[in-house]
């Protein structure tokens, strides 16, 4: 009988790191405020007292170095898990992520491996304003060589982080701060992983496919619940990995429902939703009974601070419901 425990998303992440560090001495974590303080969101709470300051390293205020030193350490056979405290601060580290981590294997003709996992705290609806709300996932989905991970539930968060740490590719792992403590789920007390690159249908339905990730999965499920009372059955797909995209799951669903809505917590232009919309049009055109819709934020920097501005900006269940109904009415 497998023991089950209820955990929050952040517990799941903390546990995943702890278990992987116990399991494999090559795994270490580095970042700002992660050691003594346990992380500004307490994601690395308790780790330094367990594993010491050489495996839980408090780094200087240097995102470029946090990522870059991890590239070098990974090249030498360690398995670093560097943390970027807020996705809003990832830009100083871009050179090392995009030019080094993502490309070292390719440019060395397969000689080097960079098995690191960059954990990035991201996301809005927390009143974080312009610099504590960004996700910026599109920059990384556009970077071949990276694996971009975005869980919405604690079970997936734990399983995906473990899988990413064990994977040989450079992974960038997004953690939505709104979900850290607001989502609880029962998880088994076993050593489980969740496969990278696989989406999951979180709610089955026959009328319309909704594709989403992270917080937007929960908004979609909320919308689906309300729509079900009106007789509209939505199939909600949780992408879980943003790169590579699990085309199979998405296409199968759209072929069944004939309608697709993609939700992204990011400005509309140049986002992941556009990519998925293109994939559906290219590969399931003849199954579409209505144009594909995207529910996104407007094309402004993410996210303005004042509450009415933030509310206007963010996609939510009502906006998803409206999009579904418009699609159904086509």
């Amino acid at each position: 009988m497998v023991k089950m425990r209820t955990v929050t998303l952040i517990d799941a992440i903390n546990e995943a790191m702890k278990e992987e560090m116990e399991r494999d001495e090559r795994v270490y974590v580095i970042g700002e405020d992660i050691g003594i303080y346990g992380g500004v969101f307490k994601a690395t709470r308790g780790l330094q007292s367990l594993f010491g300051p050489m495996r839980v390293i408090d780094s200087p205020l240097s995102e470029n170095l946090i990522v870059g030193s991890s590239v070098g350490a990974a090249a030498m056979g360690l398995r670093p898990v560097p943390e970027i405290q807020f996705s809003d601060f990832i830009t100083p580290g871009m050179d090392q992520i995009i030019q080094q981590a993502a490309k070292l294997r390719y440019r060395s003709g397969g000689s080097f491996s960079v098995p690191l996992v960059i954990r990035v705290c991201c996301g809005g609806e927390v009143g974080g304003g312009l610099y504590h709300s960004q996700i910026n996932e599109a920059w990384f989905v556009h970077c071949p060589g990276l694996v971009v991970i975005a869980p919405a539930f604690p079970y997936d968060a734990k399983g995906l982080l473990k899988a990413a740490i064990r994977d040989e590719n450079p992974c960038i792992y997004f953690e939505h701060k709104k979900l850290y403590r607001s989502i609880k789920q029962e998880i088994p007390d076993t050593d489980f992983t969740v496969p990278l690159g696989k989406a999951e249908i979180k709610r089955k339905g026959k009328d319309v496919t909704i594709v989403a990730y992270m917080l937007m999965v929960h908004k979609s499920l909320e919308a689906a619940e309300k729509l079900a009372k009106e007789g509209i059955e939505c199939e909600v797909i949780d992408m879980r990995t943003l790169l590579p995209i699990d085309k199979t799951t998405i296409l199968e669903s759209v072929k069944k429902t004939g309608r697709a809505i993609i939700v992204q917590e990011a400005p509309k232009t140049g986002g992941v939703a556009g990519e998925i919309s293109s994939i559906i049009t290219e590969e399931a055109f003849e199954y579409l009974d209505a144009p594909i819709k995207r529910v996104t934020a407007p094309d402004t920097p993410p996210i303005p601070f004042s509450p009415p501005l933030e509310h206007f900006w963010l996609p939510n269940a009502d906006k998803i419901i409206k999009a579904v109904k418009e699609t159904m009415a086509y």
């Binding site: 007789g231 004939g258 003849e286 579409l288 009974d289 086509y330």
Partner: protein
């Protein structure tokens, strides 16, 4: 100033009704609040009182027509007023709910609150989506045969699939209107049915369709399991034999077993409260009141009447109420109040001679108790074979909420109370 007579909102989830009987003729005088027309919804008839005194100037929607809530069905004018300059809003096609050859006439029922005037014969065969084109090609369909139910008459994928399945046009609403979960599609009409020489086509009545819908919904929602037990009715039989004549004489009412069974059930429900509950996706709602539903057969079809606050009523009061409700049911005079709100239902298949059955739960309750014929049987009591009047009880329960052991134990308590009436009779007589 002429005013419209419209179909009012009749219950939260109700979206339509059928014009039953016009109680006044065109041109006839009507007093204020006098019933002017009868609307049928679900299982009951509701009489619409006239909003003011005047004359029923025009009947717009004839009898036996399905109309959405809010639809204008007639015009009331003042005495002597002319209504020639009145134009009515979009009138639904005069379709009967029986099977008719033309499928297009079913469409107005779908657009409950749409303001778009629908021209039923206009199907847009130009806006074909990729999915539709593919299906048309794959199945070699002549699209001129397809009725488009999409916006602007667009032929949708569902229209093609429905055509392929030879089912009626789907009732998925294209406008934001609340509908029931699509387990049964009573609306709309299908392609004409051809009867063979040894077959008779009998159109389904409104009530029968509603019953069918209700049954299927229950079966498709709840996880039905039926467990049974039998009660030794010896003591109750003796009591009833003793009391039935004085009772009849004093109250002019027949004393049946039903009130006793209801009482026994309530005692058991108090001990097993989850049986007196209903389920939503996230919650269980346990009722602290006891409105027992009782299935009543009628020629037109089955209905469940409700005896409210059964726990607070005496055997006499329950008997009275059961009788009243039964009369009303047979005369088709039940109100919504009479048939709504039951928390647990009892169905008596025994009056027709059944020994056992597997009753269908009265949605959205979680249990239904089927009682049956009391029959003298040979049973073993204290290692002796004796003759006892036994009654089989079959309890169907919703296994999503109620586990087997809970249901079995509940039924055992019903049995106990039926077999030991002396425990509780004195409290309530």
């Amino acid at each position: 100033m002429p005013i419209s007579i419209v179909v009012p909102q009749l219950g939260e989830s109700v979206v339509e009704g059928t014009v039953g009987k016009w109680l006044k003729k065109e041109g006839e005088k009507v007093a204020k609040d006098e019933p002017i027309v009868e609307i049928m919804t679900d299982k009951i008839n509701v009489e619409i009182p006239s909003p003011k005194a005047g004359v029923l100037a025009k009947i717009i929607v004839p009898e036996n027509t399905v109309v959405p809530i809010g639809q204008e069905i007639g015009i009331l004018a003042e005495v002597g007023e002319s209504i020639s300059n009145i134009s009515s809003s979009a009138s639904p096609a005069p379709a009967k709910t029986e099977i008719k050859p033309q499928p297009t006439q079913a469409k107005p029922e779908v657009r409950a609150s749409s303001s778009v005037a629908v021209d039923d014969d206009k199907t847009d065969q130009t806006r074909l989506s990729p999915a539709v084109r593919r299906l048309v090609k794959e199945h070699n369909i002549d699209i001129s045969k397809i009725n488009g139910t999409g916006s602007g008459g667009r032929i949708t994928r569902e229209d093609i699939l429905a055509y392929l399945d030879k089912k009626p046009a789907p009732s998925v609403p294209k406008t934001p209107v609340a509908t029931k979960a699509p387990v049964f599609e009573p609306k709309g009409v299908s392609a004409p049915i051809s009867a063979g020489p040894l077959e008779e086509v009998i159109p389904l009545t409104f009530v029968r369709k509603k019953i069918a819908e209700h049954m299927v919904k229950s079966k498709h929602t709840a996880s039905h399991v039926t467990t049974w037990d039998e009660a030794d009715m010896k003591k109750l039989v003796e009591i009833r034999e003793k009391l039935k004549e004085p009772f009849q004489k004093k109250h002019n009412l027949k004393l049946t077993y039903m009130p006793f069974i209801m009482k026994a059930t309530i005692f058991a429900l108090k001990e097993y409260p989850n049986m007196n509950a209903s389920m939503t996706e996230e919650n269980m709602i346990v009722k602290k009141y006891y409105h027992l539903g009782m299935a009543v057969g009628r020629d037109v079809g089955l209905i469940v009447v409700v005896v409210r606050d059964c726990d607070k009523k005496s055997i006499l009061e329950i008997t009275r109420e059961i009788n009243e409700l039964g009369d009303k049911a047979r005369a088709d005079k039940l109100s919504l109040h009479d048939i709504q709100g039951s928390t647990f239902t009892i169905t008596n298949a025994g009056m027709f001679g059944a020994l056992a059955s597997t009753p269908i739960i009265n949605y959205p309750e979680v249990g239904i108790l089927g009682i049956h014929m009391i029959q003298k049987r040979a049973v073993v009591v204290d290692d002796q074979i004796v003759i006892r009047p036994m009654m089989t009880m079959c309890l169907s329960f919703d296994h999503r909420l109620i586990d087997g052991h809970y249901a079995v134990q509940f039924l055992q308590r019903v049995k106990y109370y039926l077999e030991s009436p002396e425990e509780w009779l004195l409290n309530i007589m």
